[in-house]
Subunit: 509 residues, 2 copies
Amino acid sequence: MPPRTKYDIISEIAKRRGFFWPSFEIYGGMSGYVTYGDLGTKLKRNIEALWKEHFVRKQGFLELDDPIVNPERVFEASGHLQSFKEYSSECSQCGRSFRADHLVEDKTGMENVEAMGGDAVKRLLLEHKVRCPVCGGELKEPTLFLTMFKTEIGATGGEVGYARPETAQAMFLNYRWGFQHAREKLPFALAQCSKVMRNEISPRRGMVRLREFTIMELELFFDPQEPGCPWFDEVRDTPIKLHTEKMETEDVKEPLETTVGEAVERGLILTEWQGYFMGVSQRFITALGMPPEKQRFRAHLPDERAHYSAQTYDHEVFFETWGWIEVSGCAYRTDYDLRSHMEASGVDMTVLREDGSRYLPHVVEPSYGLDRLFLSVLEATYERRKRRNVFHLPRELAPYQVAVFPLVTKDGLPEKAREVYDLLLDEGLWVVYDEAGSIGRRYARVDEIGVPLAVAVDYDTRDGDVLTIRDRDSWEQVSLSLGDLAGRLGEYYRGEREFRELGSPVVRG
Amino acid sequence: MPPRTKYDIISEIAKRRGFFWPSFEIYGGMSGYVTYGDLGTKLKRNIEALWKEHFVRKQGFLELDDPIVNPERVFEASGHLQSFKEYSSECSQCGRSFRADHLVEDKTGMENVEAMGGDAVKRLLLEHKVRCPVCGGELKEPTLFLTMFKTEIGATGGEVGYARPETAQAMFLNYRWGFQHAREKLPFALAQCSKVMRNEISPRRGMVRLREFTIMELELFFDPQEPGCPWFDEVRDTPIKLHTEKMETEDVKEPLETTVGEAVERGLILTEWQGYFMGVSQRFITALGMPPEKQRFRAHLPDERAHYSAQTYDHEVFFETWGWIEVSGCAYRTDYDLRSHMEASGVDMTVLREDGSRYLPHVVEPSYGLDRLFLSVLEATYERRKRRNVFHLPRELAPYQVAVFPLVTKDGLPEKAREVYDLLLDEGLWVVYDEAGSIGRRYARVDEIGVPLAVAVDYDTRDGDVLTIRDRDSWEQVSLSLGDLAGRLGEYYRGEREFRELGSPVVRG
């Protein structure tokens, strides 16, 4: 048996404690689908809220929420019907289908075969005599497979519809509303967090390639003659690690260590807006718990880039189990999408400049896979410590903010602990109450689900309203009076107070 | 032209200001789909958060997030493949399809024809000689149409899947995880807020009947031998208006005015858990701005009830335009679902009692249509006042919490106002900045999008750090010093301070 990977370990905890697990298990499962439990649903929501803090609220960008299923003409215009395809190889013996580039990768150990283009994939399949990985049968000639889910809208003679594979089209379809709402002044942005679906041919790697997942996406519209970003100074000096298109082509392994400002000046990043969002992106991913040294930006090669993109930088993070994985892409979509929809719909989308000239706005798009970010948070914050599992979740992300334990289940301590629990609920906190097993076991249980603070209710609490709070990260304890508890926890979660400032140090005997 | 209804008025504002509008407009639209703009996305999110406050956080119930598309066997087991159907009539001339019961309603003025059952619908169509409402052509014999969206998962020879029309099945599929997580103790509950899809034959009434919408649903599992709800006392004396099954059968128009406690005692509500959730439901809908006198609970007739339900009470609210509309259903699903999935999957779902006997838990389900709640909020809070539009949104729901205006755009006031804006952003508030047009017009604009408070920056602010805050609801003003602003607004939004307690009254000259 192969040794357990870090992903195996995290998956085991995730399933046992309720972060996530494979869907439809009682019916034998279905690859590419994942179920989030109580902790997972909350953690995902908190990541989404933090994304909004970094990308929406402070900039005053506009939000949007558009349907998942769209009529066919949307994807005709967007180019997806033509281009959102992968090479699929069917086994002539068992009938199973596989993604052709992945078959080549598995057989040869090559990386990123998709980026080499369709002809290369076909050639490599033949050259390496790849056979069915399940039954060993001969593979048929690979064919292009449209990886969007198709359905029919309405009763008899209804219209063909597809589930969208990205949320971006919604921003283009509703661009004119955004333009009006922004009082016809550019730049402005439309942002959306929503489910998307991709009919992956043969999903692998559990959570990394899902058929249904959540995207957090933002389209920034700007005048290509006025490409400056007003907040660029905020990120100009941010150090980043870059793998440019040229470096990728020449197979340079070591990243270029530069700053956002320098990369834009040297033309390695095409626009200030991309640079801005890449800088914010690094700040955001770092706030999720992933240190900058485990982050890099890698440019797509021309064959790898989506049909709409002039330049795309993937933001990648390092997973112990798989190496570098893309969690975000920052694409320069130019005016491709607005032009396509303008032509297909006949609706004018041009903007009038003060000098009387007309233009189509250009678009920069930072896009996040929420499910991969979720996995990155678990990867980044997991620690095995003295035979315990600890998730050092940042306090803004913790599904439960505080735990309340009676020291023992007698002498009125559970009743007192329930009072403390109710008090904290009334403060609007997410609270765990636990009285089962030794207090050491209970601390271990909340460490494993990333609860930052645990409040112990003991005889001093019952007799003198004095409580002990324990820190998940340092395992240190402080004591404070019940009257101070709610206010100080509020300050702690607003980032106005650190753990050691919650009370007086407790020296364990 | 018919007079504009309240729904017309609200829809016009909604589109112009960015609450919602019909989707895919640049491609001619597609009925049954709606797009939420910036205000709509935020308002919807805030309603969801308030639902969690009322139904999840305080009770310590568990959350879940499961895929939208499910393999066919799930819906075979759940009974949806058999039962989730409507009668559809196709026009033999133009080929359009219509929902047969709606055709009858439109022709005859009858209500709730669906509840009379399929045979009655067929008979009424013939009796009333209903013809195609679009071209006047003859209608074909109505046939049952499965109103779930169908798709195929995977490449060649993939599996059939359907988009779920409700989220409940997820709670049954993952029931065993919930049971473990609850340490094998009942009662416990699983809650989920997620998109669902229904392939409506002929959607009408804009936002009321959508093909894609969001459901907030909770399944409470309990031992039928121990049916007590520990929080029942909280709702026992809540007055409610009931239309029982018997009253509906006998066509009694006036509601029964009773209390939750009495209704459960008299057997009009079958279980304490239903009673509890109906009481919480009334509290929740009232917190959304809808007064109790515009709420009622109406029992489903046997033919109207879903295939799984022993009793369902719809929670209805009154819309000026349409009359009573269901926004929620509280169903007693018994052990129907767990039994069906246990039989179909072969997985044991029984629970062991202390006395050694085994049983299947029973289920009570309060379920909300988020999009209809959204519309209820706009309906309940809209006021036409002195030729202005005002949405009196509860402060927890307001998409933007505060607006900042410089009195004039000169003399350094915009710079000072920007400082105030940045300060409030740093406090974590959603803030609007506006300097266009007269201050009166700016107040009118934020009234129309429901911003509770507007801060005016004038010469006193520039010279003495004194600000004026205006209340959306009363149009009163108070003044306070800049140093107090952030703290007091924080208290206002936590419900710890009312408008008049924000500063000293300003008497307008």
